[in-house]
């Protein structure tokens, strides 16, 4: 598999079958909501960053001094010259200079060995497990979606960037909204009037026909003359992240997505959870170059985003969560890559995060069929976010779950 995008998960994890249909929001609507119902300063905001494809954790948080690590991966192990040492014999991938600065400021938590019991090696199944927070039984609602179910209805409460709804935002009764990137151009004159007529609902419509009409209506909700927030420049952070290492040039979609989120947080959009994503982590072949570039993008764009949040007075409010559906096999394959594995690191940055390591680093000596043993359940990460940031009983959202990581400082 080359690049793995969010769309596939929609189809194969069944999010398309969710009863409700996601509203596609216009910038205008969000801007109006921000004016009429601004999010008070001091309210926690969560930005979920999904890395699609299965990020290789061992080349992200690198046990570079471990001889088993070096021996298992001829040609694709990272030695001391290609990493940024942290502590305990672990180091960040050399492209992650921004994350190193967050680490030094105690704003970055690295949760080690994260996964769930009986790991599934399928992209689709494992991503469905992470997004539904249900390893044992298949359920089609997402964990943020079920949190939405517990809240009064508000289409602004959780927003995914892109044209399709990520499964984690789909609840049983409520769904998050989607915000397409980039501007939309609408026709004018009599064609516009006739298209507006085409976009009306009709009693005989099947659900999909109704949705087709709705998509045309959504297009027309956009208007050029109401202060489009997106045309404003994004907030500029005071301290720019260093460009050494991971910046291979060119815009990445993750940076663009986070720029849109930054602009909307800057105008006090009443949104508590944002979902963004980056694909391409399925590094079965020629891993080093590809993953290094992607991790540089993750590190640079998130560090820049947190700088923007500082500029707009939201640095204590905004927390970023970074995860992928699985880590990769300890041993390299014949194609200078790695196959699907199990546990991997999760990053939590900004807001009330108390920086440092959490969870045990999985042993390279004791493997389960060539894979790392899981030391931390991802539901402990979600539990902390639900309870400490979203002020919601975790056991209600994640069926009976009782524990959480002590990663956030008291408000």
């Amino acid at each position: 598999m080359d690049t793995l995008t969010r769309r596939k998960f929609l189809q194969l994890t069944g999010a398309g079958a969710i009863a409700g249909v996601a509203a596609s929001l216009s910038i205008e609507e969000i801007a109006q909501a921000a004016l009429s119902n601004p999010l008070p300063i001091g309210t926690p905001i969560v930005v979920v960053v999904t890395l699609y494809g299965g990020n290789d954790g061992l080349n992200t948080v690198v046990p570079y001094q471990d001889s088993i690590y070096q021996a298992s991966r001829p040609g694709i192990s990272l030695d001391a010259s290609k990493v940024i040492p942290l502590q305990d014999g672990l180091a960040l991938n050399g492209s992650m200079t921004g994350f190193k600065s967050l680490w030094d400021q105690k704003k970055l938590a690295i949760v080690r060995g994260v996964g769930y019991p009986q790991p599934d090696h399928s992209h689709f199944s494992s991503m469905a497990i992470w997004q539904s927070a249900s390893p044992q039984e298949h359920i089609s609602s997402g964990w943020i979606g079920r949190w939405l179910d517990s809240q009064p209805h508000d289409p602004m409460r959780a927003i995914g960037l892109g044209s399709v709804l990520p499964p984690l935002l789909a609840g049983a009764h409520q769904v998050g909204s989607v915000l397409p990137l980039g501007g939309l151009v609408i026709p004018s004159g009599t064609l516009a009037q006739q298209c507006a007529q085409l976009s009306k609902a009709s009693g005989a419509d099947t659900p999909l026909v109704a949705l087709a009409a709705q998509s045309m209506a959504d297009l027309f909700k956009l208007s050029g003359d109401v202060g489009p927030v997106l045309k404003k420049p994004a907030p500029v952070p005071d301290v720019l992240p260093t460009q050494a290492g991971g910046n291979f040039g060119g815009d990445s979609s993750l940076a663009q997505q986070l720029d849109v989120v930054a602009k909307l947080i800057a105008v006090n959009a009443p949104t508590r959870v944002w979902a963004v994503s980056l694909g391409g982590f399925d590094t079965h072949a020629d891993e080093i170059q590809g993953q290094t570039k992607l991790l540089g993008t993750v590190s640079d764009s998130i560090t820049r985003f947190l700088g923007q949040m500082q500029k707009v007075g939201r640095s204590r409010d905004v927390t970023v969560l970074v995860y992928s559906e699985f880590g990769r096999r300890v041993k390299a394959n014949a194609s200078m890559g790695t196959d699907h594995g199990t546990a991997g690191p999760v990053f939590i940055a900004g807001g009330r995060t108390q920086g440092g390591f959490y969870g045990d680093q999985p042993s390279l000596k004791t493997l389960n069929n060539g894979d790392l043993m899981v030391t931390t359940d991802f539901r402990d990460v979600y539990g902390a976010i639900l309870e400490d940031l979203l002020n919601t009983d975790k056991s209600r959202v994640i069926d009976g779950w009782k524990s959480k990581l002590p990663v956030f400082a008291k408000a």
Binding site: M1, R7, V164, H284, A334
Partner: protein, 429 residues
């Protein structure tokens, strides 16, 4: 006057087992009666004069990538671009002009099933070889298709099986072969994947020319154990075992049900009976004649390529003859579906995914571009909603859409734009 359910069924037949009607075709099908219409749509012709008249692109082995930033690299990239563009228009033309479109439609389905992307393969000739293989077996026996595909150079390269040795096998092909191509998730174990990965080692791919070579020195010939079998297996032996599995008999009919009939209604339990011999054509006959073809509520959204090709057929447009083919290719790219470039090995999404505000915008611009160059003579004498529905193979337009038509008066170009962007055309009821 054909009854509405008949119109619904013929509309589904001609849009889902073909790429929509050419002018006059829908009424002709209605007039011949349902049994004859079903046979007409579901029987692939031995040869299709219109499709076969599309000249195959001249694709050559372009060799290795030259050193970057040299004149040679510039020439090479231009040659590569010309070759892939000629491949795009060749296939789009075949879809748009075929008199009997079932074969192209099935090839299109299998392209989404064995989804392989030029984005990684990077050589048009190698993608064309795969496309020829998919067409060859599109209505044949799935066991033969699977055997051909496990040796297909584009697929092997795409799933990293071309640099696969017994010392450290790569599991990418092994996993997707079972999960996405033959059995479906949950019908194998992690151990099966690791064992099969060993059996699949030894292939080398020369992707610039689209050839493969089996290197016994790199093949793991020790016995492997998977799905209850133990023995020495190569790719063909593994393919045969997988296709024989009962999970395969369930999985392929379920995938076709999802793409041709319904994403909302469950697969009928007896559908797999038609696939007992792994005969794809027999499964197509059962699907196309299924009672659910007449049932209300099995709507399907036309994907961007399906929408574009059906508009071309209605407007008598041959894609390669558009004033600016590059515009059409970038329009399809913007809409999220360019042939030979699926987003990943799972293929393209379905239904709701194609109904965002941004897709509505691109569809509207593209429709205006196409209608300017299209043949609207069908609407010359009669611009009634009924005439438009017959022209496009729509079972019935809603009051909403008829009102939009009324507002447009009798301007055929404006009516055509509204009709091909109407909810009833974007979604096949």
């Amino acid at each position: 006057m054909a009854d509405l359910l008949d119109r619904l069924e013929v509309s589904r037949l001609v849009h889902r087992f073909g790429f929509g009607p050419k002018p006059g075709e829908f009424k002709k099908l209605l007039n011949m009666g349902l049994p004859a219409a079903r046979t007409q749509i579901l029987t692939a012709s031995k040869s299709d004069a219109a499709a076969d008249a599309v000249v195959a692109p001249k694709l050559t082995d372009l060799g290795f990538f030259p050193t970057q930033k040299t004149q040679a690299a510039a020439d090479f990239n231009l040659a590569r671009q010309l070759q892939i563009n000629s491949l795009y228009t060749w296939w789009l033309d075949r879809m748009a002009v075929a008199d009997q479109a079932l074969l192209e439609r099935m090839t299109w389905f299998w392209h989404g099933h064995w989804a392989t992307s030029y984005d990684k393969v990077q050589y048009a000739i190698t993608m064309k070889i795969q496309n020829d293989t998919l067409r060859k077996y599109a209505l044949g026996n799935f066991a033969d298709m699977s055997r051909a595909m496990v040796q297909d150079p584009a697929l092997l390269y795409w799933l990293d099986a071309g640099q696969n040795s017994k010392q450290s096998p790569n599991e990418n092909l092994a996993r997707e072969l079972m999960e996405l191509f033959t059995l479906g998730v949950g019908n194998y174990t992690e151990s099966d994947i690791r064992e099969i990965a060993r059996g699949l080692t030894g292939w080398q791919v020369y992707r610039s020319g689209g050839t493969t070579q089996f290197n016994p020195l790199k093949h793991d010939s020790t016995p492997i154990t998977f799905l209850g079998h133990t023995g020495t297996y190569d790719a063909l032996g593994i393919s045969d075992v997988l296709v024989t599995e009962s999970a395969c008999q369930q999985f392929i009919p379920a995938r076709m049900w999802f793409r041709f009939l319904s994403a909302e209604n469950p697969v009928p339990s007896d559908l797999s009976d038609s696939f007992v011999g792994r005969d794809i054509n027999q499964l197509v006959q059962t699907l196309g004649r299924h009672s659910q073809m007449r049932a209300v509520g099995n709507s399907q959204v036309k994907s961007p390529v399906e929408w574009f090709i059906s508009a071309c057929r209605a407007l008598n447009i041959t894609p390669s003859k558009l004033q600016n083919v590059g515009y059409a290719i970038s329009a399809l790219t913007n809409m999220g579906q360019l042939p030979f470039n699926p987003p990943n090995v799972g293929g393209w999404p379905a239904d709701e995914a194609w109904l965002s505000a941004s897709s509505a915008q691109f569809r509207l611009s593209f429709a205006q571009y196409l209608v300017k160059q299209g043949d609207l003579s069908t609407l010359a004498g009669d611009t009634s909603a009924q005439a438009i529905a017959d022209w496009l193979g729509v079972a019935e337009f809603s009051y909403r859409t008829k009102s939009a038509f009324s507002a447009a008066g009798s301007d055929p170009a404006r009516l055509a734009i509204l009709a091909i962007c109407s909810p009833e055309y974007v979604v096949n009821a």
